[in-house]
Structures are given as structure tokens and as C-alpha cells.
């Protein structure tokens, strides 16, 4: 094989290689990155920093409708409202207070309204030692039974904190017990969790679930 035909073979060989590459690149021009469904933005409700309840103090500050707290619009002054119980000593909640779920304390034992409300003045609360507490100062009432939690809350270790950790730069914003706990049924309710981390690659979800996490 002389040098001329050798060159020709190399040139033709390279031509074939480049042509194949050209064909390969042409058909792969858009399929280089596997297509994955775009990750949706998280629902803005999960970014909301407000508490899920409003305390009486919040409502006063917002100048909101306080007609729900106008006890003597219906009740008669100076006369304790009667409480009625069924056969199992369960409190019968009157139709006017249907929104109240009595669930404070295990086994439903804390079922008398006047354990916390002042029966002689419904616009006040009453601690177990008999002294009156305003609605805006409700943590004192909670603390009269839940001492250790109240102590933690006062120190900032229980409950939500926002605002400034550096008190010289600004105030810390503390929330009241009733901002998070419904006083009639204080157990924290369940809620839907925000979406978890997405998979980097779409397929193999089933097999990845079975593998142990490392």
C-alpha cells in the first residue's frame, strides 16, 4: 500500500467518523438533558408567620369586632349562668356556644366553665385562688395550674419568639398562650406538612423508597 492510498484511507475513515458524529449530534441536539417536571413553588400559606389564633389582646389592638365578648348582651348580670350535665357528667354545651369544644384536661374532667371563668362577672377570668384576671392577662390564669410551663414561657423558652434577640436593637415579640392554644381544647391540632424535598431525578421513586437511607 503506497503513501497516496494510505492517505486516502485515513481521509475516508475520518470522513465516516465525522459524518457519524454529525448524525449523532443532530439527533441528540435536544435530548441531552433528561426532561423532569419543574418543581412547583411552595404555597405561600406555609410562609405565613402569624399565629393560627388571635388572642383577646390582639383583637383589642386591631379594634376588631368584640361582640363575642359582650357576655351581658345575653346573660343576666349578677346571676351565675346554670350548668347542665348529662348522665355521664359531661357538660351540655348550649346552642349559643356551639363553637366551643370542651377538651381541656385528660378524660374530660375539667368540664366546669367556672374553673376558669368568673361566674359572678363573666367579663373576667378567675384563678383557682379566687383573684380576678382580665382577659388580656390570660397567661396568669394558665400559669396558676401550669406552673413550670409558665416559668419557661416567662424566660422565653416556651412558645413562639419573634422580633429581636438583641434587646438593645428592638423588642422581642412574645405571643400569649391563647395565640397557639385554644383554651377550651388546648392540645395542638394536627396540620398538613409543607412539601418535602424533591428527588433530583424523577424515576426510580419506588426502588429508592425501599433502600435504607444513609
Amino acid at each position: 500500500m503506497n503513501s497516496q492510498s494510505k492517505t486516502a484511507v485515513i481521509v475516508i475513515g475520518l470522513a465516516i467518523v465525522f459524518s457519524l458524529l454529525a448524525v449523532f449530534f443532530y439527533f441528540n441536539r435536544n435530548t441531552a438533558v433528561p426532561v423532569r417536571a419543574p418543581i412547583a413553588l411552595v404555597d405561600k400559606t406555609f410562609l405565613d408567620v402569624s399565629t393560627w389564633r388571635k388572642s383577646y389582646a390582639d383583637l383589642v389592638r386591631e379594634k376588631a369586632d368584640l361582640s363575642d365578648f359582650d357576655c351581658y348582651g345575653c346573660h343576666e348580670k349578677g346571676k351565675a349562668p346554670p350548668l347542665r350535665f348529662d348522665d355521664k357528667q359531661k357538660l351540655i354545651i348550649p346552642d349559643e356556644h356551639k363553637d366551643i369544644v370542651m377538651g381541656h384536661g385528660s378524660h374530660g374532667r375539667n368540664n366546669i366553665c367556672f374553673n376558669c371563668h368568673n361566674e359572678n362577672n363573666l367579663e373576667l377570668l378567675q384563678a383557682r385562688d379566687g383573684h380576678d384576671i382580665k382577659f388580656a392577662d390570660s397567661p396568669q390564669l394558665c400559669g396558676s395550674c401550669h406552673g413550670p410551663t409558665y416559668r419557661d414561657w416567662e424566660a422565653g423558652a416556651h412558645g413562639r419568639t419573634s422580633g429581636y434577640w438583641d434587646r438593645s436593637k428592638g423588642p422581642i415579640e412574645r405571643k400569649l398562650c391563647v395565640n397557639c392554644h385554644d383554651p377550651h381544647s388546648p392540645h395542638f391540632p394536627g396540620r398538613k406538612p409543607a412539601p418535602g424535598p424533591h428527588y433530583l431525578r424523577e424515576p426510580a421513586v419506588a426502588s429508592a423508597e425501599k433502600e435504607p437511607n444513609h
Partner: protein
């Protein structure tokens, strides 16, 4: 096309000793041109994807070597760059550590309900990439009665949390006193500040990911692609070492919301926690809530304390 070489008897047009004829030259040139065009066409996406830094950005000095005047220029350049890319004029600052402050984080495992609101508040505050997804906090779900991270699941998706029989343990950067990630960095692009926050100079990071491998808490995240942040979700309050938009190929991690905490505010994850499970403060202040927790509560672990990393992140129980 006619073939003059073979039809012309006795009088060859081209000298025999030459290896290249006009015909073969033309043919091979055409083939090469086609091939190169095909290669260029095939490699074109690479050129499109690469976002080249500006000369100023490329020549920028190391964070610790920047003089205050140079820092002003750098911050202005970043503001312009963000405005060009997102159409929003941000407010970029370089927050320095405060004197007499060492941050500490406490997380109440009794209270955490696993709702993952902290994860998304963090993403919103710190301008992490939404797709590909980067999140600093990973919430682990573990069965009651053990603290075996091998049994943890972070992709739980029930209708309602908390679930019976499980507890939740959010894990993020533990801001170690003895950080393995800082030791392995070959270019000193990550270091521990005097207030205890381990930070990254994104402009100095070479993307070798040694720190990601060294971290025992799975707390560092790498930008494999250019981060995608929707314009309407961009947080314009930015810091140089914190939440300014990152580039492709750099490492990032939780920095205790440097732009908030060094301005005296609580981190975003603390503010949003609906259960009040997250507590943050200055451990050098004896009246701070974290000092109270360390003194009075059943603080039981620093995660993986046998590693000797000495985290500034404590998990505790209420009861």
C-alpha cells in the same frame, strides 16, 4: 462531474510525486468542514450554559483582604448584577460579627411537629435555588424510642403531622466550634467568624466539594446548576456572606440568617416555627433564653457529639 485524470491518456495533469490532488483536497476539506460544523453544533449548549463572570468579579480579592473601600465597590457591583438579572434593586450589606456575641441554637424535640415551615421560610429568606432545589434544613422523622438516624425518613408526606409514634428532628448546619468543613477547604473560602457562624465567600469557593464530604451533618449544599429564583420570591435584603444569589459551582450552607441575626433579629426559621420549638440567642448573655435552656432544661445532645465537632446547636426535651 467529469474525471480528467483517467480520461486524458498519456498526459497526466498532476505530477505523480504529489500526495494531494485537487480532488482529494476538496473532498477532505468538505468532510472536515462538515465534521467541525457538527461538533460546534453539538457543543453549542455548553457555551450557552456557561455564565462567565465579569472581569471585576473574576479579579476580585479574597473577602478577608478586601479593604472597606473595595468592599463598597464589590457590594455595588453585586447590587448592579442582581438588578440586571432579577430587575429588583437589592440592598446588599456586609455585616460584621458583633462584639461579645456567640450565637447558640436550641431545638425542642418535644415540641417540633414536623410541619417543615422552617424549611420553606429559610428558602424564602435566603434566596436558595428553587429548581434545582436547595434547602438548608432537613427534617428527619424517627420512630419513638430511638435516635437512630439510619431509621430516619425525610420524605414523609402524611395528611397531617405530627404522626403517632414518631418524632421529628430538623437538622441544619450545626455551626461547630471545631468544624471539619473549614479544615478541609483547600483555598480557605470557608471559615468560622468570631460570633460562631461558619461562612462561605462564594466568590472564593472553587467548588471542590471537600467541605460537603467532610460535614457529618449533611449540611452543605452545592449549586450544580445556576440557581433559579423567581423574581417575585427574591428577598432584596441581602448580605455578602449570606443570602445574595449564588453562582453555579459554589457551595452554600445555613449561616443563621446572617443578615437578620447580626442586625439583632431572630433567624427566619425561629420566627416561623408554629410550635415554638426553635430557640436562638446569645449564649454569652446570661439572661438570654438559650442560656436559660442550657441551665434548666433537659438538654440531651449535640448531634453526633462523638465526632468531636462540638456543635453550637443543641437538642432538648421539655419533660
Amino acid at each position: 462531474m467529469s474525471n480528467p485524470d483517467s480520461n486524458n491518456n498519456g498526459t497526466p495533469v498532476v505530477p505523480v510525486d504529489s500526495g494531494i490532488t485537487r480532488r482529494s483536497f476538496l473532498r477532505s476539506s468538505a468532510v472536515f468542514a462538515t465534521g467541525i460544523a457538527a461538533m460546534v453544533a453539538g457543543l453549542k449548549p455548553l457555551f450557552d450554559a456557561a455564565d462567565f463572570p465579569s472581569a471585576e468579579e473574576f479579579m476580585q480579592k479574597y473577602y478577608k483582604e478586601l479593604t472597606p473601600e473595595e468592599m463598597v465597590k464589590v457590594l455595588a457591583r453585586i447590587e448592579n448584577e442582581v438588578e440586571r438579572q432579577y430587575g429588583i434593586r437589592p440592598h446588599v450589606r456586609d455585616y460584621k460579627p458583633l462584639d461579645g456575641v456567640e450565637y447558640l441554637y436550641c431545638l425542642n424535640l418535644t415540641r417540633c411537629i414536623g410541619c417543615r415551615k422552617c424549611v420553606h421560610a429559610c428558602v424564602a429568606e435566603n434566596n436558595q435555588s428553587r429548581d434545582p432545589e436547595i434547602q438548608y434544613i432537613r427534617v428527619l422523622r424517627m420512630p419513638h424510642g430511638s435516635l437512630d438516624i439510619e431509621k430516619a425518613e425525610h420524605r414523609y408526606a402524611p395528611e397531617s403531622v405530627p404522626e403517632k409514634g414518631y418524632f421529628y428532628m430538623p437538622v441544619q448546619c450545626q455551626q461547630c466550634k471545631n468544624p471539619p468543613c473549614v479544615k478541609v477547604c483547600p483555598v480557605h473560602a470557608t471559615w468560622q467568624e468570631t460570633d460562631g457562624i461558619t461562612v462561605v465567600d462564594y466568590n472564593w469557593c472553587i467548588g471542590c466539594r471537600y467541605c460537603e464530604a467532610a460535614c457529618p451533618y449533611w449540611a452543605r449544599r452545592f449549586n450544580f446548576a445556576k440557581p433559579v429564583i423567581p423574581k417575585e420570591r427574591l428577598n432584596p435584603e441581602m448580605s455578602y456572606l449570606g443570602n445574595r444569589p449564588r453562582m453555579r459551582g459554589v457551595m452554600e450552607k445555613c449561616h443563621f440568617c446572617i443578615q437578620r441575626t447580626r442586625a439583632g433579629r431572630y433567624p427566619a426559621c425561629v420566627e416561623i416555627c408554629p410550635a415554638g420549638a426553635r430557640k436562638f440567642g446569645n449564649v454569652l448573655d446570661p439572661n438570654s433564653e438559650v442560656s436559660y435552656i442550657l441551665k434548666n432544661k433537659r438538654v440531651f445532645i449535640q448531634l453526633k457529639e462523638e465526632m468531636g465537632t462540638s456543635p453550637r446547636f443543641f437538642y432538648y426535651f421539655d419533660v
